[in-house]
């Protein structure tokens, strides 16, 4: 995928469903000048109603289940879901916790997994590119 394929800006909504913040820090790192994904038009937005991509971190605690579903429902179509980190992908260290209803794919239809504890920003960017392709397959034309 080349930059010529990036026909439009990708707007991302980030949701923490009980993460330790490790993955969230790596997402922030992808936005720093060292990686600077904003140059491709990728940016975090403040509401799911403006987002194409839902970035989910954390294993989904019981209290966050309804909120995660609501945030997903509030995103316009087409949309893709990307999970960052081991906890969201499999439950990780908390997989048998009494207070866990995740991992994320038990709650939402996940398109891309980026495992790691936490994954490096390069892995996050690679996952975003895959998500972008999926979004275009789903017909991203406005």
């Amino acid at each position: 995928m080349s930059t010529a394929d990036l026909s439009r800006a990708l707007w991302v909504f980030h949701m923490n469903t009980g993460s330790c913040n490790g993955c969230d820090i790596e997402i922030m790192a992808a936005l720093t000048p060292r990686y600077d994904v904003e140059r491709f038009g990728m940016r975090l937005v403040g509401t799911p109603r403006h987002a194409d991509l839902l970035l989910v971190t954390g294993p989904v605690t019981r209290d966050m289940e309804a909120k995660a579903k609501r945030v997903y429902a509030q995103m316009p179509d087409p949309k893709v879901v990307m999970v960052i980190g081991n906890c969201g992908s499999t439950g990780g260290a908390f997989h048998d916790s009494y207070n866990l209803v995740g991992p994320v794919d038990r709650i939402l239809p996940v398109d891309v997994y980026v495992p790691g504890c936490p994954p490096r920003p390069e892995a996050v960017i690679d996952g975003v590119v895959k998500a972008w392709k999926k979004l275009e397959e789903k017909g991203v034309k406005r």
Binding site: R49, K67, A68, R70, A73, Q74, P76, D77, P78, R142
Partner: protein, 112 residues
């Protein structure tokens, strides 16, 4: 009423205003057309975002958050309220005053 008013300092034409309005309207519609059209009405996609929570129904109106706007512009509105006395003579006086100022401006512009 479509004549051009020459003032000496420039001109004023309703057609220019109309053309400007249409150009601005076209730009607004162009920007609006690039917006997202795939929101499904009647679903959560058009509901208010409240940090993932269900948006509460409240008796507190959104107008309450505009207090700073009202305080800042209150002085201007109080000045306008004082002008609106409800007495027709005051309104006619205001009308004549504005006409005098405008005529003076146009005349001075023509003389310069």
């Amino acid at each position: 009423m479509t004549g051009v008013l020459m003032t000496g300092a420039g001109f004023w034409s309703p057609l220019v205003w109309l053309a400007a309005f249409l150009i601005v309207l076209a730009i607004v519609l162009l920007i609006r057309s690039t917006g997202r059209k795939k929101f499904r009405h009647g679903t959560d996609q058009t509901a208010a975002f409240f940090s993932g929570n269900e948006a509460p129904k409240t008796h507190v109106k959104a107008g309450n958050i505009y207090w700073g706007f009202f305080v800042t512009t209150g002085r201007y509105y109080r000045w306008l309220q004082r002008m609106h006395t409800g007495i027709i003579n005051d309104y006619v006086y205001g009308f004549v005053l504005i006409m005098v100022i405008l005529l003076a401006a146009v005349t001075m512009g023509g003389l310069l």
